[in-house]
Amino acid sequence: MIIRPYGDTLDDGAVQLSFTLPVPEGPRGREAARIFMEKLGFKHAEVVHSHAMAEGYSFYVAYAKTEIFVDYDAIHIEEATGEKVYSMNESCEVIREQLGRKVVIVGACTGFDAHTVGIDAIMNMKGYNHHYGLERYPEIEAHNLGAQVPNDKLIDYAVKVNADAILVSQIVTQKDVHIHNMTEFIELLQARNLRERFIVIAGGSRIGNKLAVELGYDAGFGKGSYADHVATFIIDRLIEKKQDY
């Protein structure tokens, strides 16, 4: 199925845009904005508003229409977890039945990142949005190391407690600092020959499964994820691993 943005008629391809141009406000800037949109592949591009922001900078609001489309059927999405997500009780049951031991999970907000609310949402007792965190899972031993944990400290700790999985939270993304930090973490693991020993999971508001897998993680979780998702992924992966041996 071919799809296009929808304004008020199917396939009209209508999109709203806003942006700044580093030029003074005026007819020439507006025309530059229009041409820019044409170069993006818009057919009817209309600058509906502009204002001067500062010397040499101007702001534009535009509505435009395009014939560019997406083939919806061809879209593959690989989320870390599928349709089926275990509840806390289900998770613990599966652990008891299939693994027969406690699962150890270590997590932290790494590098200089101090945004602990996200990792706390996943790990702390009280959880988030009516989803309990991993600490409350009777069959999971969860260690939340908190904020600003250096990558090597996190690995040391995971080795010490013999963790099954390591959770890395990264919220600050300016200048791709999260990418650098997440990459460093994997490199450190590899350098110490520990990559295969752990299930390694990243999370954060701007992180998706795709990005995380590209960077060498087993999975990634973004906005709207809960302990349930993380537990499901880890347990299933542990069962798989067990079967591989």
């Binding site: 304004g7 509906v48 508003h49 609001v61």
Partner: protein, 519 residues
């Protein structure tokens, strides 16, 4: 309701007295006249429908045949034809569409005609009463599910089938009222197009079939959402009463319907308009349809600070005209609008004052509050803020019908996402400050109180001036919206007919008696 503004009861009463004095002479004229569209409306109520091969509607065909002999009404001939041909209304309509001239059928037995008329009246009354009962039952079934104020959204794609999708989406997202905006200039057509339509500009044709299609689509949404959804259209323009008739038959719930809008803003002749509005309002009143009056339009051309009093004065007149058509206050969606220049210091305070004033003066009316339009620009982000303040004032003053402001007001008729964002804005603001109104009081002698007092004073003074010269003279002189409308000019004057001694319109009599207007 808290009365916060300390408005003078005496002045309010004085304004109402003046409205009576202004409207009464107009109603005398109205009583003595009918119009092409009033006749066509009566025909529609009796069952006339359909169109000929050129798209000319059956009611028009009938009335055109009777040109020159309409002083006694069109109904007589139509009913006579029914009696004489022995057809059902459908059968007769088809014949008329095929060329049958009802004016050429000799008038038959009066008794048979009256009996037939009584049957048609009964069929009409039953259908409308069934509609009312249905609406009322749903309102009871889903009581408490509508927002307060009711959230009102428009659809305006030009294509009824596209409109349906948009309307259902709006319902799914929380709309209480869906209005199908009419295509540009339908108000100037002296007929109502027939059938489903897919080609309109800035809106969709109002046709009975479009009404039916949309009603059905919204009825599905009603039960799916567990919330009654009011359907709105325009009983306005040269076919005002006909559209009211169609709305009554198809269970519309609201109608834009103003006693003077057409004169001022569409240059429709004033005699014609006054005659048409009365009959349309009787139909609306009988059908339990809430009218939305058009005071907001004053402020799209004049200044909301300077001319606020014209809005209030018009509300008093619309109220009076509506009472004169047998309409109860709870059906009077008197209009006003948030159209103050956003650059005005303390503009918000004045707006709050005016909205609260309207609330206190018309405590039972489900006031219709219009969003910012004229000062909306292409800056959609600023537009969102303008709409947020509008939502705020509306909730803070307990308005009845809240037209949602669109962030793209200055750009295009709404996209689906524009409506979604409008609902999100309103629902958030209104819930977040739900009970503010009962929490705050206004400082005596402050900006807010003074503003309300001033507008009321100005409105009384204005009504006094109108009362002295008479409403028609006042409109000739440009007292309203600075627009001068000579009484013998404007569209549709030639469609005005002085009632003859034998004028026959039992639907009118029936409505009058139902509405308690018969002396």
């Amino acid at each position: 309701m808290d009365m916060k503004l300390n408005l003078s009861e005496a002045k309010i009463a004085r304004a109402r007295e003046l409205a009576v004095a202004i409207v009464n002479p107009v109603m005398e004229f109205v009583e003595a006249h009918t119009s092409l569209t009033v006749e066509r409306a009566a025909l529609r109520l009796a069952g006339a429908d359909g169109a000929d091969a050129d798209g000319v509607p059956v009611p028009n065909l009938v009335v055109d045949q009777l040109k020159g002999k309409l002083e006694n009404g069109a109904l007589l001939y139509y009913i006579n034809a029914l009696v004489k041909t022995g057809e059902t209304v459908e059968g007769l309509n088809a014949k008329i569409a095929g060329g049958l001239r009802v004016d050429e059928i000799p008038l038959g037995d009066r008794g048979a005609i009256e009996k037939k008329t009584a049957e048609r009246i009964q069929a009409f009354a039953e259908r409308v009463k069934r509609n009312r009962a249905h609406r009322e039952a749903k309102l009871v079934q889903y009581a408490g599910k509508n927002h307060s104020p009711m959230l009102y959204l428009i659809v305006a794609t030009g294509n009824i089938f596209e409109d349906v999708k948009q309307a259902q989406a709006a319902a799914e997202q929380g709309a209480d009222v869906v209005a199908v905006i009419r295509t540009t200039a339908q108000s100037l057509l002296d007929y109502v197009p027939y059938g489903a339509t897919t080609e309109g500009f800035g809106g969709t044709y109002a046709t009975q079939e479009n009404f039916r299609i949309m009603r059905q689509a919204l009825d599905e949404a009603v039960d799916k959402q567990g919330r009654y959804i009011y359907l709105t259209n325009y009983a306005s323009g040269l076919c005002m009463p006909e559209i009211a008739a169609m709305g009554a038959l198809e269970r519309l719930d609201m109608m834009l319907n103003d006693s003077m809008y057409g004169i001022l803003f569409r240059d429709i002749n004033m005699y014609r308009t006054f005659v048409d509005q009365k009959f349309s309002r009787m139909i609306n009143a009988f059908a339990g349809v809430i009218i939305n009056t058009g005071e907001d339009n004053y402020l799209t051309t004049s200044d909301a600070v300077e001319k606020a009093y014209t809005v209030l004065a018009s509300q008093f007149l619309n109220e009076r005209f509506a009472y004169a058509a047998g309409m109860p206050a709870r059906l009077m969606g008197l209009g006003h609008a948030f159209e103050m220049d956003p650059t005005i210091k303390n503009g918000f305070l004045m707006e709050l004052a005016q909205a609260q004033m309207a609330r206190e003066i018309f405590p039972e009316a489900p006031l219709k509050y219009m969003p910012p339009t004229k000062f909306m620009t292409g800056d959609i982000f600023k537009g969102v803020v303008q709409n947020a303040l509008f939502n705020f004032v509306s909730q803070a003053t307990n308005q009845g019908i809240h037209l949602l402001g669109m962030l793209t007001e200055a750009i295009h008729t709404p996209f689906m996402q524009d409506r979604s964002l409008a609902l999100e804005n309103a629902k958030y603001v209104m819930n977040n400050m739900a009970d503010l109104s009962s929490e705050i009081q206004f400082k005596p002698g402050g900006i807010i109180m003074n503003r309300a007092h001033q507008v009321l004073d100005e409105a009384v003074a204005f009504l006094e001036r109108i009362e002295q010269i008479g409403l028609m003279d006042a409109m000739e002189k440009g007292e309203f919206a600075d627009i001068k409308r000579p009484r013998d000019m404007g569209k549709g004057l030639d469609g005005l007919v002085k009632k003859g001694d034998e004028y026959y319109n039992p639907f009118e009599s029936f409505l009058k008696s139902e509405l308690g207007l018969e002396r």
